[in-house]
């Protein structure tokens, strides 16, 4: 006969407990009833803030949360427990159902703490814990411009970011003298504050809200420093309190600071009752993070099946990205261990603060705080409590100076994944047992499926175990992009179908088709919409415009070097006005027109092409812009004609398709106003000629370009850039920017210099010829569409109703221009 387990609460931890128990309970010893207060199955509360990305609650639901194929689990939604009768071993739900149990697990989580401020219940005041909270905040945000969050901790900052995303100007009010007082120290908090203020958010530290009153159509907050803030809405995020009311009434022992007391087996003071997650207190302390909750859930599941697992003081390390700023803290972040020493690297200019806490002999790592650049977190955290592999100062030195702390520096029992407590040994075992890639490792060890910050380390383990990461482009080709390039170049094959038939398998996909399309374009195979090629293009290349979130497209005419006549500006302005396009100056020194439908694109381009504009290839993995500074003609410091050269470069390389986009810039002197060193190709004028830099980019991993040659004349400059670009186009991987490509070359920059400056491989002539062929065959892609009725016919909204407006596309007005109304939004519940 199986016994009956009742679980109160279907949150993250309650769900984990049921999963863990079901996974191990081979003999079906337990039958489980889960009583949930919320109306929906367990969801990923940790990712709650991402709900605002698409307002799709379904996406947050946890795996297997409905137990639809498990008859031994009975999940009852909207059935909160209101009473526990320990003597009768039964619980009663709000609807009056009474259920007997053999064992009971409490997993009720916690509730947001709302400080007892007068006016805290007024309409417009919210908490931040559930999907319903976010729906309500969103509904209330409409029509307001300001939002205030009370609490500058982890959640408070997340909430502020959400308000920002809803278009509100955000304020954070924090009682402590610094932001994130629990995770970071004073130095880190100060840096965080500066960075966050730099984003236009108002930070008030060391003050509290004393009163909330209604004011006009919003709220007025009085602060303890006698200032006031007028706001549309208020979100309390001032900490959490374990939900232990029921347990107190039932006579279970509750810790002084809240939470039902559990021992290391996660049992409460009643042997038939267990607890896990935020509602439980271990050694007098409740934990507001999911990892300790999961560890408790695993302990309870094991114990319910007669195991002897124990729970111990958890690792409270965290790494997160708040408002785009990396923040991590691990181990003894505040240096409370007796004799602890702190080693600090503080660089307010680049916004990086790093601190390591080490033992008094500086030999053992105790903890640390990283703000602004947390890239070392993955390798430092597992070293806590262990001997330092190098001098602590050097470990947090600015990028470049720090020794690379690889996985090899870690002992086997070090935790690589802290979310799921997976050690390096366990991962190596899994690799030994046949896991050959990250998805396989995730599936069999769970490592990497929490916060994801250990994935780079997992890759390192794979490599150090000798598992070669496959070069295959996708399931249809075993070749790398460079190999396919060579096959196409040498064999003369010019169609995807022929390539697939001879060298691949299946029908292709969204990876190999655009890759082959790009190679064919680099090899000069006519217009991108010619014949079979059209079917290979990603939507941007297919409609020669950039897809936007509501299904409309943007239009970017080329403005070489950023130089434009007033007449041409007028044409852009008129086109934008006549088609009601949202208009914005881009970061690439040109103008982007947003909100065009597929059938409007040719009409818009007809007018632009007639006025002398051509495609700017903002949609292609191709040359984008060559930015310039004003240079010698006007600037009193300029030593060369930077605008003239930028235009020449842009016209020379326009239309060149590449593994990824290519950007360039030219500055007229060393002051570098064009930011050339952040580009794939950067040219900076000198008294004697030009300096050429290569391999820079902004984006996700910014990198400054490296000097390839200095003081060269224009002819040599063009020859070198020709060779550089063609060598890149032929040999880089799919979606590899030049920066990563240069670094991936064996021998790096020196090797590159040998190949393209000294011609060590004897291919320079060939590279130059290929570029010359490209320059000669360039034709404007948009003109090509307008001149060909067959290509024009592709720009149809509906085959059976050409010209009919797409009912899903609607606009609203913001700051005097049209912007899309967000899509796919479930109705807000009231």
């Amino acid at each position: 006969m199986s016994r009956h387990l009742v679980v109160i609460g279907h949150g993250m931890v309650g769900h984990r407990l049921v999963q863990a128990l079901r996974a191990r309970d081979a003999g079906d010893a337990w039958r489980i009833t889960v009583l949930a207060e919320e109306d929906r199955p367990a969801y990923d509360r940790v990712a709650l803030s991402s709900y605002v990305d698409d307002w799709d609650a379904g996406r947050l639901q946890l795996d297997g949360a409905e137990f639809s194929d498990d008859p031994r689990v009975d999940l009852r939604l909207g059935a909160p427990v209101v009473e526990i009768d320990r003597a009768a071993r039964a619980v009663r739900t709000v609807t009056g159902h009474v259920l007997g149990y053999d064992a009971l697990v409490l997993a009720t989580g916690s509730a947001p703490f709302v400080p007892p401020v007068p006016g805290r219940d007024l309409p417009g005041c919210f908490t931040y814990r559930t999907i319903e909270d976010l729906d309500a905040i969103r509904a209330a945000a409409r029509g307001h411009t300001t939002g205030v969050v009370v609490g500058g901790g982890l959640l408070g900052l997340e909430a502020t970011n959400v308000l920002r995303g809803l278009g509100l100007r955000g304020h954070v009010i924090e009682l402590a003298p610094r932001l994130m007082p629990l995770q970071v120290d004073e130095g880190g908090g100060a840096l965080l504050r500066r960075t966050i203020e730099g984003m236009g958010l108002e930070v008030h530290c060391g003050v509290s809200v004393t009163e909330v009153v209604r004011h006009e159509d919003g709220l007025l907050l009085r602060l303890s420093d006698d200032t006031t803030v007028h706001t549309g809405l208020l979100v309390f995020s001032a900490g959490i309190r374990p939900r232990d009311e029921l347990f107190r009434v039932a006579g279970l022992t509750v810790a002084e600071r809240g939470g039902v007391l559990v021992d290391e087996t996660c049992r409460t003071s009643d042997p038939a009752v267990w607890a896990a997650g935020e509602c439980a207190s271990f050694e007098g302390r409740a934990y507001g993070l999911v990892a300790p909750g999961y560890a408790m859930a695993e302990t309870v599941a094991d114990r319910l099946l007669g195991g002897d697992a124990t729970f111990s003081m958890p690792d409270m390390s965290t790494k997160l990205k708040l408002l785009g700023v990396d923040v991590a803290s691990f181990g003894d972040a505040h240096g409370v261990t007796p004799g602890a020493l702190e080693v600090v690297h503080n660089d307010p200019v680049s916004g990086v603060y790093k601190k390591l806490v080490v033992s008094d002999d500086a030999g053992t790592l105790l903890g640390g705080v990283l703000v602004g650049d947390a890239s070392a977190y993955g390798s430092l955290r597992p070293l806590v409590g262990r001997a330092l592999p190098a001098d602590p100062g050097s470990l947090i030195a600015p990028a470049g100076g720090a020794p690379a702390l690889g996985v090899d520096a870690l002992p086997g029992d070090a935790q690589v994944c802290s979310c799921h407590a997976v050690t390096k040994n366990a991962i190596e075992e899994a690799v030994g047992a046949g896991c050959r890639d990250i998805p396989a490792l995730k599936g069999c060890t769970k490592a990497g499926t929490g916060c994801g910050s250990c994935v780079p380390l997992l890759k390192q383990v794979l490599v150090s175990c000798g598992v070669e990461q496959s070069k295959a482009l996708c399931e249809h080709f075993d070749h790398s992009r460079a190999e396919l390039f060579e096959i196409l170049r040498v064999t003369g094959i010019r169609t995807f179908s022929a390539l697939l038939a001879r060298h691949g398998r299946g029908r292709g996909c969204d990876i190999c088709k655009p890759t082959v399309a790009s190679i064919l374009a680099s090899l000069g195979s006519g217009h991108v919409l010619d014949g079979e090629q059209a079917a290979l293009q990603d939507t941007n290349d297919h409609f020669l415009a950039n897809l936007q979130r509501n299904g409309t497209y943007s239009v970017v005419p080329r403005i070489p070097g950023g130089e434009i006549t007033p007449e041409k500006l007028l044409v852009i302005a008129e086109v934008a006005r006549d088609f009601a396009l949202y208009t914005k100056i881009t970061g690439g020194q040109r103008i982007d027109l947003f909100g065009a439908t597929v059938d409007q694109l040719p009409l818009i381009w007809r007018r632009l092409v007639d006025a002398g504009f051509e495609s700017g290839h903002a949609y292609g993995k191709a040359l984008r812009t060559v930015k310039s500074c004003v240079g010698e003609a006007w600037c009193r410091y300029g030593v060369q004609d930077s605008v003239g050269l930028a235009i020449e470069l842009e016209l020379r390389y326009r239309g060149l398709r590449a593994p990824h986009k290519i950007k360039a810039a030219v500055s007229g002197c060393a002051r570098e106003c064009a930011e050339a060193r952040s580009k794939d190709i950067g040219v900076i004028a000198t008294e004697n000629g030009w300096n050429l830099y290569v391999g820079g980019n902004g984006g996700f991993t910014p990198r400054h370009a490296d000097l390839l040659v200095s003081d060269v004349d224009k002819r040599s400059l063009l020859t070198l850039i020709d060779r550089f670009l063609m060598f890149y186009v032929r040999t880089a991987d799919r979606l590899q920017r030049t920066s990563v490509w240069v670094e991936s070359l064996e021998g790096g920059l020196d090797h590159l210099r040998e190949v393209i400056v000294e011609d060590s491989l004897g291919i320079c002539g060939e590279l130059e010829r290929a570029m010359a062929a490209h320059v000669d065959s360039y034709a404007d892609e948009w003109r090509g569409v307008l001149e060909d009725p067959v290509k024009l016919a592709r720009f149809t909204s509906f085959v059976n109703a050409p010209g009919a407006p797409d009912p899903t596309i609607t606009f609203r007005t913001e700051r005097g221009q049209r912007v899309p109304v967000p899509l796919g939004v479930p109705e807000v519940r009231t």
Binding site: D54, D56, G58, R59, Q61, E475, H476, S497, G506, R507, G508, C509, D510, C512, K513, P514, E532, A534, A535, L536, D538, T539, N540, H542, F543, L547, R549, N550, G551, R794, T796, S797, F798, V799, N800, A801, A804, D806, P807, T808, I809, P822, L823, G824, V825
Partner: protein
Amino acid sequence: MTTSEAPRLTWLRICPEARLWPERGSAALLPDGGQVALFRTTDGAVHAVGNLDPCTGAAVLSRGILGDRAGRPVVISPMLKHTFDLSTGECVDDPLVAIPVYPARVVDGVIEVAVEEMSGR
């Protein structure tokens, strides 16, 4: 949930088959304002599925790239690259998400798509 009565299908004439580009989609408007994405794959098969990408809400699936995942014919949404099985409508990356699949056929060179007859809802 399932209902007891089998739904009745109405065949709608959409457009001449020749209007569909091989290996590329087209969108069509339905009488009720809904949209279907029509595809003709290299093997000549015609597929009709909902045009709305359920992961982003944008009506763009007709503009996705076609291909296969382990042999199943799929369309990849151009928005965030979610991949849908053209025969079952299932999202290959997320079993909880699916798009509607409509019966489609070619009659005398004209593409027809079947929709459920409007009930008195």
